[in-house]
């Protein structure tokens, strides 16, 4: 077939397909325009105050890493973040949600529609730091590896996945949570179900500086659940992982 023939053929594509596409594109663009979460707006305000403070006090920031230290997996060690203090645990937080609670069947449907990577695996090399920002904000940022036991959806065969997860607090109250649940046992021997999103060009503003998330982990946790290996428990109902695997 010739290129011109191909393009001529496309000129006769059913109009309803074009309409559907145009409307879908508009919806996606509108959705992507909205702030991804409240913390970005707060982060911008906090950053403005931080910049103003710097200008007045004459303090120079030397970038967000004192001197980046690289781990064996090629990612930057979170403890080399400026002002980072290593901590052993994160204050009690709940799962970040949009406030909706779905029946289990609907929840599985939603997970099936999303493009998130879902795997079952164990956590290795977990490290958590706390970073205090100006004012009453503080961050808990964790990096870890997941050794994949079973790919549930959207995997590409990678056996070890690097992940970064963060929670921001205001006056010790959690504001934005990126995946770590206090109910989840992070002991390295225990396996869990992880739902993650690939990091592309996303940045987080921590301590007034933009942090390129992909330098800390290839994925960020979007949500994660308790799991006993054959199913996971969603609001008291067991859901079979094989159901999630099905197209």
């Amino acid at each position: 077939m010739k290129k011109k023939e191909w393009n001529e053929g496309l000129n006769y594509l059913d109009p309803d397909l074009v309409e559907k596409y145009v409307e879908q594109k508009d919806r996606l663009r509108q959705k992507n325009k909205k702030p991804k979460s409240i913390w970005l707006r707060f982060g911008a305000i906090a950053a403005c105050f931080a910049v103003a403070f710097i200008a007045v006090a004459g303090i120079a920031f030397h970038g967000y890493f004192n001197k980046p230290v690289y781990l064996e997996n090629g990612k930057i060690d979170i403890s080399s973040l400026s002002g980072a203090q290593i901590v052993q645990s994160v204050p009690d937080v709940s799962q970040g949600t949009d406030g909706d609670i779905y029946p289990p069947d609907e929840f599985v449907s939603i997970l099936k529609e999303r493009t998130d990577l879902i795997v079952y695996g164990t956590i290795q090399n977990l490290k958590t730091v706390k970073v205090d920002e100006l004012g009453a904000y503080s961050w808990y940022v964790s990096t870890f590896e997941i050794h994949v036991i079973d790919e549930i959806r959207n995997g590409d065969g990678t056996q070890t996945i690097t992940v970064v997860s963060a929670a921001r607090y205001y006056n010790d109250m959690p504001e934005y949570i990126c995946g770590l649940s206090s109910n989840f046992d992070l002991a390295e021997s225990k396996a869990g179900l992880f739902v993650m999103r690939e990091n592309t060009e996303e940045t987080w503003r921590i301590a007034g500086a933009d942090l390129i998330v992909a330098e800390l982990g290839d994925y960020r946790a979007s949500s994660q659940f308790e799991c006993n290996g054959e199913s996971f428990n969603y609001f008291g109902e067991l859901i079979d992982l094989d159901e999630l695997k099905k197209e």
Partner: protein, 198 residues
Amino acid sequence: MELQNKQTVRIPMDDDKIVELYWERNEKAVEETDFKYKKYLFSIAYNIVHDRLDCEECLNDTYLGAWNAIPPTKPSVLKAFLTTIIRRIAIKRYHSNMRQNVIPSEMTVSLSELEDFVAGDEDVGAEFDAERLGHIISDFVRSLSERRQFIFMSRYYLADPIDTIASDLSLSRSMVNKELAAIRSALKEKLESEGYSI
């Protein structure tokens, strides 16, 4: 006392009202179309012809096309209607320009991805039935998942860059490329089964 230099913000007109203007043969229809959709339509044309002057001409031809078509047509989704017009015009300009030299546009890149079964810059053969191919491609697109439908339309209908598609869908480039590879493989199978020589 009235404020001096009072600024007003112009808000794009609703599509229904713009279509009404076309029906009334009111030339304000073209002005409102240009105000609302110029940037969008320009980007479609640019992905294809990669030349600003050519894009301006495509735009003007699109407005003329819309003026001539409405009425009797009454498009339900004006944006989609304009999209098909500008694509058709830009593609014609693209193939006309390609006779002189290679155009470094996204259309060229997206066509090269299909070289397994779409190749050669010669003109359309006498026996070629574009409408039949259009129906076959439509059936194929409908058989795809929602995400793949979007990716197909973005890449092969409108020649959107891969980064744009990745951004729209919040995916990585590599994921988009994977999806495109799967789409092409399925498309090749479909075209072969319909008797198109590869």
